[in-house]
Subunit: 173 residues, 2 copies
Amino acid sequence: RKWVNTAKLLGAVPGVEVGDRFRFRVELVVIGLHRQFQGGIDYTKKDGKVVATSIVASGRYANDAKCADVLMYCGQGGNPSVADKKPEDQKLKRGNLALKNSMDEGTPVRVIRRRETLKTPSILGARSGRNYAYVYDGLYAVTNCRQQRGPYGKLVFMFRLNRIPGQPKLGRF
Amino acid sequence: RKWVNTAKLLGAVPGVEVGDRFRFRVELVVIGLHRQFQGGIDYTKKDGKVVATSIVASGRYANDAKCADVLMYCGQGGNPSVADKKPEDQKLKRGNLALKNSMDEGTPVRVIRRRETLKTPSILGARSGRNYAYVYDGLYAVTNCRQQRGPYGKLVFMFRLNRIPGQPKLGRF
DNA sequence: TAGACGTAGA
DNA sequence: TCTACGTCTA
């Protein structure tokens, strides 16, 4: 028997609509939107090359321009946001390579954004709460890839993603 | 209304029997055995002093003597198992203080041990599997607390716990 | 804000 | 083996 995982496919995931909300990253895995438990960039192989399937913009890297329909997304690696470890130049591999290839191949990328929300109870004990959720934002195209200096002076990749037209608008949250 | 969390109580948790198995640490939280998502030592306040409620022996610190009914448990802090960060002497605070107080007060500590098991599928995609589980091992008494040199030459706490008699034996797993 | 015996995928 | 835009409690 063959296991199917919609998260490895390019484009929309059946049953998931623009605006759908999730409280935990692990839910994105279970629902088949994004297989990476923690990683921000998920990807798969297409014709021998890795291309991105989905990204999660949590704002941890603090480089996501919030313009409507445009997302600036920082690449991964080099610890651009962790002062603890030694920062390094990001390399064109793994997720970064995948996003670059997505641009070259013109393949769509699912975008999930972390957004502020009203206080929701935690499933663990209903004591603590959280004030954010992960929202499926629809399909984007990678339109640009450049290198620039990050907050620690090291090279980081910066990807520009444009929301593909014709999708439902994102309402107020 | 008042929220009750059995994990904050000392002693056995209603509905959980010796030998019960769990696949994920988070299940221990949900079931009320151990509230710490990652931390190995859970504790609560009793008469103004912190005492341990439960510990998880995953073997990460590699100091758990496997003698039946006796558990040697390394304290927390100082990164005794992470060569990456700078190792330091463990301090008598948090979980370490709680275990010390448990010894002085004579309060019981729930013990959960990570044990090898047959391959079980992951809930995430049923692709990857894991070969271990967390098993509730029953109540133990802290009978000794000493400091010694850890693998990186720094002081670590080593607690000796003896299984309290009269509990069901742990069968083969 | 920092610490913690986590997890899964590459 | 290592990385990763996690998630909780104190």
